[in-house]
Symmetry: D2
Subunit: 250 residues, 4 copies
């Protein structure tokens, strides 16, 4: 999130990719640009730093340029359950460094969020559409309510490689391989400013809650935290073998 988040990626991602021999990197980029959306230029920097694909969320349209850019850049996904006709795509199939096909699906929750199409039925349709094309399927479920996120994990268990939640900006400790072989975590957390309220300057958020008056939120300029998960997979049957959290503080 914001500049500290980009610094965290630039400082760490190359090293982690190499050290852990990582084949493919998916990052939620909805807060990459000053906390609001992403720009073409920032996406370019982060692709260069080792991100393979960006997923997004409720902040996808914050930077206007994305509305036209997203149709040209297949590595930038937006939630698949936006209405038909929405610019961009909600899933795509990519090739990993080692040459495997991998599907990435981005979908958004609805509880306490926007009025979108059903995320469960949307994923069903996508799985139908990509059937036979790849066994490696990663889902970023960008959602608020833990009930909706955990339910999605169980709903897709055995049908996808991993369901990873985003949006709350706080990493959860419930990472796990579900009984039928899908990796699951409720929220991967945030790569961004460390001493902050989910990325935003602490005093601004506290003031807003106490006074109930508007505050223009700014990305906190502190040290950073790097949040991620590393998932080992069986590329033959598409199941997950291991999921491990990374929670680094600078």
């Amino acid at each position: 999130m914001g500049r500290p988040g980009r610094k965290a990626v630039l400082d760490n991602l190359g090293f982690i990719r190499k050290e852990q021999n990582i084949d493919f990197v998916i990052a939620n980029g909805e807060n990459a640009a000053g906390g609001h959306g992403i720009t073409k230029e920032i996406a370019r920097q982060l692709y260069a730093a080792g991100v393979d694909v960006f997923t997004m969320g409720n902040h996808v349209w914050n930077k206007k340029e994305i509305i036209t850019y997203i149709d040209k850049e297949k590595r930038l996904l937006r939630p698949a359950n936006y209405p038909p006709g929405t610019p961009g795509a909600g899933f795509n199939i990519f090739e990993t460094k080692s040459g495997h096909s991998i599907a990435v699906i981005n979908v958004s929750g609805r509880i306490y969020m926007q009025e979108l199409d059903c995320p469960f039925r949307t994923v069903d349709q996508i799985l139908e559409e990509i059937k036979g094309k790849t066994k490696l399927i990663f889902v970023d479920f960008h959602a608020e309510a833990t009930s909706e996120k955990v339910a999605m994990g169980w709903y897709l268990d055995g049908r996808v490689t991993a369901v990873c939640g985003t949006h709350t900006h706080v990493q959860t400790a419930d990472e796990r391989i579900l009984p039928k072989g899908s990796a699951y975590i409720t929220d991967i957390g945030m790569t961004g400013p460390r001493d902050s309220v989910i990325g935003v300057s602490t005093h601004l958020v506290i003031e807003k809650f106490i006074t109930q008056m508007p505050r223009r939120f700014e990305v906190a300029e502190t040290g950073y935290q790097f949040n991620a998960v590393v998932i080992d997979v069986d590329p033959v049957n598409g199941s997950a073998l291991k999921i491990e959290r990374i929670f680094e503080l600078e």
Copy 2:
């Protein structure tokens, strides 16, 4: 949560208390009885198993008997920011096994929750009221939105021993000693059924999300998970020295 949660406490709490030499146990009990509220009898069992104090949350009044019971049982707290005149108390001072005074404060968030009094001002008033009585002050902030919870952590940093979140039923991985000495975690998680959607039978929740038709939720009857944090404190100045998560699966 529910029977599996009670079993998890009966099986583990005594052992952990002894092994880790724990001086005082605070548990959120709002889902102890079949997922909804708590009863006098269940509270009695869990006190016997080693719980010292119960905090509650939005499910506090689910069992009617609590409305009268809570005024007699000072070890059972409800969120302090309910309106004046609400039965029960939102904080109290207790004595630990080793003879230290300890204040426990229960307070609820407002974002995506009930229309209550300001939790930040409520805690300020309580801290004023208990000033000089004890340095050991534990806050259970029962809230949904991560922004509100993290903000409360920073708001109270250096003024209380610990701010521990509850309500989402998913443990977070952001436990930490904040710069001025308060322990913090966004959510302690749930002690309850393991293979479930935040405690409820998986298929019922999935059906509800997909059909949008009502489902009577039942506590899942699976193995259990035991979620908790252990906090080391300096009883002289009230600061936290260490916070450690427990996430056991049966």
Copy 3:
């Protein structure tokens, strides 16, 4: 709503039908049974009293028997934007007393309500499906937010005979023929207990707001109010000629 509402219908509907020479009566029945849902028996009574078709809303499934009944009773509609596979239908074509074909569509809003399919696209699909079958098309838009309701009115202007809102239980004063010929009102109001908080006993609702403790809501047993609109139509082109509110107090 509830018994006073049923009495209001029994006392008035026959008279009004005759006096105003009304050809077809559509009623929202989601609160007909004690404030929660409708039963087969109550529906039967109200059909006998002059209701031709019931629309429903968020309370549609409150009485369990409806889940099977709704598939047999084509005069009982539920919101069309429930997921595919939901029991019952969201629209149907009926015949008026004078022999005209008339389509009735029931659809629900999403703002501050359930997570349903897009009501705008849902109505588009239905209009496509019934194209050529009748020009007389009535839409009950069961929704909370005035913005969503007014937007639906403009969206359908010239394509349907009338868009009438329900759900807030308070009649609005903005009835109007829109420029392209559709009748519109944001909310028709409630036929039910007069001295009440949208049908519920006043003291129970006030207590709930002030104490934030649960209250079992009961239908107020006072005199009644009868709320409705009467719409004159041109059966040839399907446009509305006049919309008139009825707001009777017993």
Copy 4:
């Protein structure tokens, strides 16, 4: 609301004041400036046109200049249930043209709105504070949910002269003198652009609902509607004698 709303006031208010011999004019001004907030200059124009006091709502702080202006201008109120320390006042006592003292109270709902202090208790405290100073007491309850608004009407019946709702921008048809003498209406409606979605350009709102993409809302530039209520009072005992809606279309 916006320029059409200001034109509606300038065109009509003087005439109505004279014709109906109106002694005091209260207007909700939260959308006076381009749909968002109010400015010093716009307030000045509208005072000149015949407004005596402005109440506000959730848009009170949209124009930054108000934060300092509101402390100097006692004729500009903001909801009284903002936290202590908020700039401005939530009530005040004024003098009508004919020399009567009149209290105006502005308070906000909480359901589907901001996290504010309890509006019911807030009004209780204000009534205590102004006791004995005047019998004429007008309350603008700026709220979304009909249940909360109707409940406030009944809660204050017999203790104030009138409870008038605002915020939904759609006038309701339930104006009434309650049994103990208070005038009540759920929503006075909006004085602003006529062919619009609660003041905003129709096509922008429809697009936003259908695409779920952000749209910069603009005040519709159409003819206007003038919405108001006229209340006759008994200045001796403070009760309302009559409440009449005005709903003019240009």
